[in-house]
């Protein structure tokens, strides 16, 4: 019995209840819960690496009537990333939220968000995916509005309404699939779906909903205000994990479940939108006045890179080259997840110590907060794609794929995007190293600065030098849900 599969979902859910019941101990309960979740996720990844994809029919009912959970290399990798980021950002939050009542509000919602993300990564049922999308949406909105500042609440409400519209588009697709194919189970659908109007329209509706949620240009407009006004640990998770959840589903649908339904034209459409996102997001990031806004626009750009892979994957024949490109896509998503959460946490430290996050007034920061500025630099390395970061490896493979498929069009986009990224990262560092008195020296304790540093090191060093490990784990059976015995 593979009941292990339920643990990454049920541990955070259970600990969320405990944090609700013992608000005075919320932080300790939360950290303990995240540690346990990390252990369960690591165990699951290890099992998947050792013996292949896993499946659990919940309630003992055959999938179709019941709901199945499954884990393959892709989902367990993301599970692991989300557990690590959540633990780091959670640790940081204990220093960020000084009031006990703030922590009591934060932790149950935080753990519910983790429940939702992990449920999404493991779910094998279309309607269940809708429920997890809504759980992600509502808990993320509630977290983004914590603190109750007007701007944060306004952005959260807009985020909520757009998120609901995205879920509704998704649900409309689910209804059509159920009408046409009579099942909601992904594995069954995978073998039933055929290129015909019902599948096309349903897929278009679901993909539109997911694009809205993953903030692909021009549907990105809600992201910067929501991510830039939320509390720092929440921003980190919104940028690193929540948009990735929608992206994960997109990948799963595009490459796995609806493999026979998607068209090359649609892949090119996504690629072009991705290209525009890279240029527009990087440009806005360069022009941003506040550090948090810069980080948010940089998310828009970095998500764009991921969509560049779609036309390339469509053009590459099944085989080693395609697997490598897929591995690069996943590596890039992972690196961005770690680097962006590090950037947001470091920004949070600066914002709390300096009282603001205006880039042009960051002078003196390097002397006052050396560890945090070092973190910013490391995260910057990963965002630009300099060696040895994981992004460097991924972009290298992106170039190889472009050359292999002859889609030269993307080269100037990637080059411009990287240059702009270098410009905005060096703009931050330039001001931070200036010797003005903008940021006064304050003591920051370890739990505030270290989580961000660890995440940045993961992004630049570990995923860079260890990228071969990611490739080996991810590529041969990344999307192997259908082959579960």
């Amino acid at each position: 019995m593979n009941n292990l599969l339920t643990l990454p979902v049920m541990i955070p859910l259970g600990f969320s209840l405990l944090a609700l019941l013992w608000p005075r101990r919320a932080s300790s309960i939360g950290i303990l819960g995240l540690l346990a979740t990390l252990l369960a996720s690591a165990w699951l990844a290890w099992r998947v690496a050792g013996s292949g994809p896993m499946l659990l029919a919940l309630g003992g009912w055959e999938p179709g009537l019941g709901i199945a959970l499954h884990a393959d290399a892709l989902s367990s990798t993301l599970l692991l990333m989300s557990s690590v980021v959540a633990l780091a950002a959670g640790t940081y939050s204990t220093g960020y939220f000084r009031e006990r009542s703030d922590r009591a509000r934060f932790w149950p919602l935080w753990l519910l968000l983790m429940t939702a993300l992990h449920a999404l990564f493991l779910s094998g049922d279309l309607f269940n995916l809708y429920v997890t999308l809504e759980l992600i949406g509502l808990s993320a909105v509630a977290l983004a509005a914590l603190g109750g500042k007007r701007k944060a609440v306004e952005a959260a409400l807009r985020y909520l309404i757009l998120g609901l519209l995205g879920s509704l588009l998704f649900l409309a697709g689910v209804a059509l699939i159920y009408a046409g194919y009579g099942t909601l189970d992904l594995m069954q659908l995978r073998n039933m779906l055929a290129p015909e109007p019902v599948a096309w329209i349903a897929l278009t509706l679901m993909i539109s909903g997911l694009l809205l949620k993953s903030a692909l240009f021009p549907l990105h407009f809600w992201l910067p205000p929501a991510h830039a006004n939320a509390p720092a640990p929440v921003s980190a998770v919104l940028s690193a994990l929540v948009v990735k959840a929608a992206l994960y589903l997109l990948l799963r649908f595009w490459l796995d479940i609806f493999d026979d339904v998607v068209t090359t034209f649609a892949a090119w459409l996504l690629g072009s939108l991705g290209a525009m996102a890279v240029l527009w997001g990087s440009w806005k990031a360069l022009r941003a006045v506040r550090l948090k806004l810069l980080a948010a626009y940089s998310t828009v750009a970095q998500l764009g890179y991921l969509f560049l892979f779609f036309p390339l994957l469509a053009a590459l024949p099944v085989g080693a080259a395609r697997d490598t490109a897929l591995g690069a896509l996943i590596l890039m998503a992972l690196t961005h997840g770690f680097a962006k959460s590090a950037l947001f946490l470091a920004t949070g430290v600066i914002q709390q110590k300096a009282g603001h996050d205006r880039i042009e007034e960051l002078g003196g920061a390097a002397r006052a907060l050396p560890v945090t500025v070092f973190t910013l630099a490391l995260a910057g390395v990963a965002l630009i794609g300099l060696p040895p970061s994981g992004t460097f490896q991924a972009k290298w493979q992106l170039f190889s794929a472009v050359i292999a498929t002859g889609q030269w069009l993307w080269i100037p986009v990637i080059a411009t995007g990287s240059l702009l990224a270098a410009a905005y990262v060096f703009r931050i560092l330039g001001y931070a190293f200036a010797s003005a008195e903008g940021v006064k020296y304050r003591i920051a304790d370890g739990r505030e600065e270290l989580p961000a540093l660890i995440l940045a090191i993961l992004a630049t060093v570990l995923l860079g030098f260890g990228s071969i490990w990611v490739w080996e784990f991810v590529t041969p059976g990344a999307l192997a849900v259908g082959e579960v015995p």
Partner: protein, 94 residues
Amino acid sequence: MMLTQLIFGIAGGLLFAMGLRSALIRESLLARILAVNVSGAGIFLAFVAIAYRGLEETPDPVPHALVLTGIVVAVSATALALALRRRLEEADDE
């Protein structure tokens, strides 16, 4: 196939699109919250129409359960949205 399924399915599609449009173009937050609810109701209607199998036959219970779940999710989202809207108004006065 039955005409009843068709009538309510198409009505559901119209409601879905109508709600989506209003949610995107209206300025008033309350109107947008209403619109999201109407849009969701349209999809629910399509679901229940799929389940319908005639006057004499027991309908398919699965879509009914899904819609029941959907209704509860919708009211949760509505309640949270209204609370945020109220908080927004209070923050105005600060």
